[in-house]
Symmetry: C2
Amino acid sequence: MNAEIVSVGTELLLGTSVNTDASDVSLALSELGINVFWHTVVGDNPARLTECLYRARTRADLIVTTGGLGPTCDDLTKQTLARAFGRELYFDEEAADTIRGWFAAQGRAFTENNLRQAWLPEGCTILPNDCGTAPGCLFESGGVTVAMLPGPPRECRAMLRNHLMPLLAELSGETIRSHMVRMFGIGESAMEEQLRDLMDGANPTVAPYAKTGECLVRVTAKAADADECEAMMAPVVEEVCRRMGDTVYGIDSNSLEDRVLELLVGRNMTIAAAESCTGGMVAQRLTAIPGASAVFRGGVTVYTEDAKCRLLGMEQKFIDRHGVVSAAVARRMAKRVRKILGSDLGVGITGWAGPDGDDVGLVYVALAAKGECFVRRLQLGKNSDRERIRTVAAHNAFDMARRYLTGLDI
Amino acid sequence: MNAEIVSVGTELLLGTSVNTDASDVSLALSELGINVFWHTVVGDNPARLTECLYRARTRADLIVTTGGLGPTCDDLTKQTLARAFGRELYFDEEAADTIRGWFAAQGRAFTENNLRQAWLPEGCTILPNDCGTAPGCLFESGGVTVAMLPGPPRECRAMLRNHLMPLLAELSGETIRSHMVRMFGIGESAMEEQLRDLMDGANPTVAPYAKTGECLVRVTAKAADADECEAMMAPVVEEVCRRMGDTVYGIDSNSLEDRVLELLVGRNMTIAAAESCTGGMVAQRLTAIPGASAVFRGGVTVYTEDAKCRLLGMEQKFIDRHGVVSAAVARRMAKRVRKILGSDLGVGITGWAGPDGDDVGLVYVALAAKGECFVRRLQLGKNSDRERIRTVAAHNAFDMARRYLTGLDI
């Protein structure tokens, strides 16, 4: 099955919005084993949208549009698609009730123009909007399946994952499942090197990705049902994990910090952080996860030497003796914050994030636990930018915690 | 002038990368007064890229490609464009030297395949790459201007801003300048309402944008030279500022926290933060700015009641009496962190970030200064997500600080 994604919205052509919808839809279709050969962006312009649709239907089996389903005059996707594919629009009473109900539930004033969203192409399948008012829809015309999703990324993603993907999987008569293996402590090319033969497989597929400082592998299987998919994936996931060893920190985890939080909850343990160059990033990432309060005891951002003394009770003499960016200072920060906040684990991070200075990229990350304290010296490169240095330093703190909590060498 | 953006890269069609290049280029072209009617994404596939170029040159005066300029076999943009526009490629010795020099400067091992990047279309203007190895280029063919930019967003953005935009401005015989007016404390529709007549202007143009919790207006002028541009913009920027009053926090600032940092530096003052629901976001945003150490004394993330007691010396009885999310607790947090860290200003934030709970979205933000303490009660909506609540709460802390520092009511 070949697909084409058409995104509608003048804000995309003006550059004031980034087209994340197209990548979300692409990723979902890849998971379903559907090839995507083109993305096109057009403005809120019926003539250009029609031109684009006429071309798309000559070369694609599936056209997915994003955007242009809202209640304002600019939102012309449904009308234009209905006309291009020879369908009438009808007023769907049920969709109208859903829209009215949404406003009531939100306690927002309902305006009549919102009912424009209840006009839908005849004979379509409605795709419910779990995060907003504009319903999407799906219909088939002359061998081409057409799906319309809303533009706001949150709405688009929810409709895609919750409603469109199951229908497309059904259409193809196949079920698709995937697992994401996540790693830390290995480079992208080293990972690819070790998995190259697995990446040649057609079903399950094995696809590598890289993100700042970490690596991911997605394993995807197609089969008649979910059980069969899982059975096909199990040996491949196992083989990936065997080869990648303890760099694997999670399967289907969202992030290193999610994994750490999960491990801490499972062991009924707590953590605290003292951050210098990361400036609160460890705290911020942990507290971005709902439920963090159960395990995160708190943190201090001790960006200056004075703050290290005031908040952690460190002595200026000690800092002067070792240098503020040193293993000794990182260790002391980790131990002190652990003690002050009464947590099981304490993180201490000190380093030069740049952009100026001779030692930009040099960071020490310490993890204090009962009776022991570990430290990593990182050299993150003079050409790294500030944000990358901070992000990778925080990654390392989480990685040390997850290794400690799972009994691995740190 | 009408432009079309063609992005080349299989990773975009797989959805593993988001096409930020297209929005960066779009935004830049909008600033130059160039209309963008289409974005197209194709994979690393010469046939489809050629098809796309043939179509683009029938409807655009300017084609900007992004991606496919690297040293690997997938990188086929230059070859394909040269063929499509009937140009030969030649080996540019100077470009080759630049590439070799880049590797030497970075201390990285040079491999011969990198010299593929020194093959360029005959008669082109080279666009230097300030952040990487692949040069871009610009040429004219049959009335169509073609520009090629690299795919990595940092490289693309630098080449676009530093080298392509000046050339395009020159081509058009005009100079373009713009200013960004940034506001906090007004909604997008209210802002548009008040600026509607200005938005009808053709030169200078006035274009509004919205970001999470804040509003922006870009004023852009075209003229023969920079001085004339500035002279044309001055009264318009002044009028925007007059109408928007003290919601305007900066002209050409990067962000609220940048403005606060600048104000603190100018007044030789310092700040510290005690954060509950924002979990370190205020600290993290301030320390993301180089030079923050001069004004940011440090922060505490006191996510739990216990941490509020241990790090800020608050009493459990006090918290019990007022409730942990209360104006009194926010005030006390701001005052205590200010005192403990010896800063001029102290921020205290406490609230419910959700997703669960009856009062999700209720946040108190306090600002303590010498002899006074201010507090804002925010109701950020039960349907807001956790990230939005945290972001807007942090925005408010920065807004209160900038209002205090500029002598405005808080």
